[in-house]
Symmetry: C2
Subunit: 230 residues, 2 copies
Amino acid sequence: MKKAIILASGGMDSLVTTAIAKNENDDIYLLHTNYGQRTEDKELMAFRSICSHYSPKDILIVNIDYLAQIGGNSLTDKSIDVPKNKLGEEDVPNTYVPFRNGNLIAIATSWAEVIGAQSIYIGAVEVDGSGYPDCRKIFYDQLEKAINYGTKEDTKISIKTPLIHKNKSEIIKLGKTLNVPFELSWSCYNNNDIACGECDSCILRLRAFDEAGIIDPIKYIKKMRRLSND
Amino acid sequence: MKKAIILASGGMDSLVTTAIAKNENDDIYLLHTNYGQRTEDKELMAFRSICSHYSPKDILIVNIDYLAQIGGNSLTDKSIDVPKNKLGEEDVPNTYVPFRNGNLIAIATSWAEVIGAQSIYIGAVEVDGSGYPDCRKIFYDQLEKAINYGTKEDTKISIKTPLIHKNKSEIIKLGKTLNVPFELSWSCYNNNDIACGECDSCILRLRAFDEAGIIDPIKYIKKMRRLSND
């Protein structure tokens, strides 16, 4: 019986990762975290829609607002502006939530040990210039080793990063072949009803759909303005 | 400027670890977690007393009740009995909270990266038969490597486990030389006003003080009963 936990933010990468894990396992378990990020409610709504689509065996929604207590990033601290059009200008952008993915994997490991899951899937992407240090393959390889020393003898956990070396347009193309419902995902860093189309995350997404030659099914404020100006 | 974060539960080991870290650093930062454990309020009270004694530069108290949501152990799940006099009978006792220390180090890493701390101290003890896999030196060595891959280039974090190879009586003797206020610490697994004297944790503590030839300054129900029967 192959059981897997998937870290599901409600974004596009974790959505495609969920589709992959669904194909590779008997039962999937979806883990979502609220950490006081700007778009907490949007992401949770996207997560719930994705759950309805993929019917996981179980879900776990956890609050880790300590990441907002700790701060130091623009996603949880509203006094720091989310950068616009700064892609590639900084080594590590201020949207980097310090060691967030390390925390997420730790939570998933606790859950995996209790339910007997063999795999933890995370939709981390190393390429495409996010610059986040906790999105590197070498980090997950090393963390997997640590986890297997820090859990029971009969617990064997593998960290799966199926998208780590793919760029965004490759992820979209792969998602398309897996019939991923992209319309359910939320990527924007800003908490609007409609994605802004201007933050780093929207720009990466829009550029990627464009490169993949596929139309992004979600709406954008910027695109809408452009259309209304036509 | 040497800054260190100490994981401070309110127990004896983290108390001695705090004393060591205080000597080795310019500023100490104490991190305490509530995770729905039976003795949450007792531990928090002990933590606050320890903070008053050691005057950390800053403290962080975080709620990670997801460990109770995940369950699978007798410390957070009140339907599972805390074992009495079962020491050494099981490979991993049911008081093991799956990968708890991995989660704690992850939180400390996020905080360390934001405040620029170079060290994270944890009072984990490998010997003395707790049997917890997340108390092994090899785990912390591997996790330290992972952390340094998963954080920014200029973040360098060392995980310090000064007690890892000491037995409890050695820890008590060391604490004594550091003038540790043992009367402020809480070790019992049960949520009584006074320590039970019968759970694994009390037994380890009592046995260790006895071996060290030092009188434990806290009171015990069992000891009190014995005295009243004399």
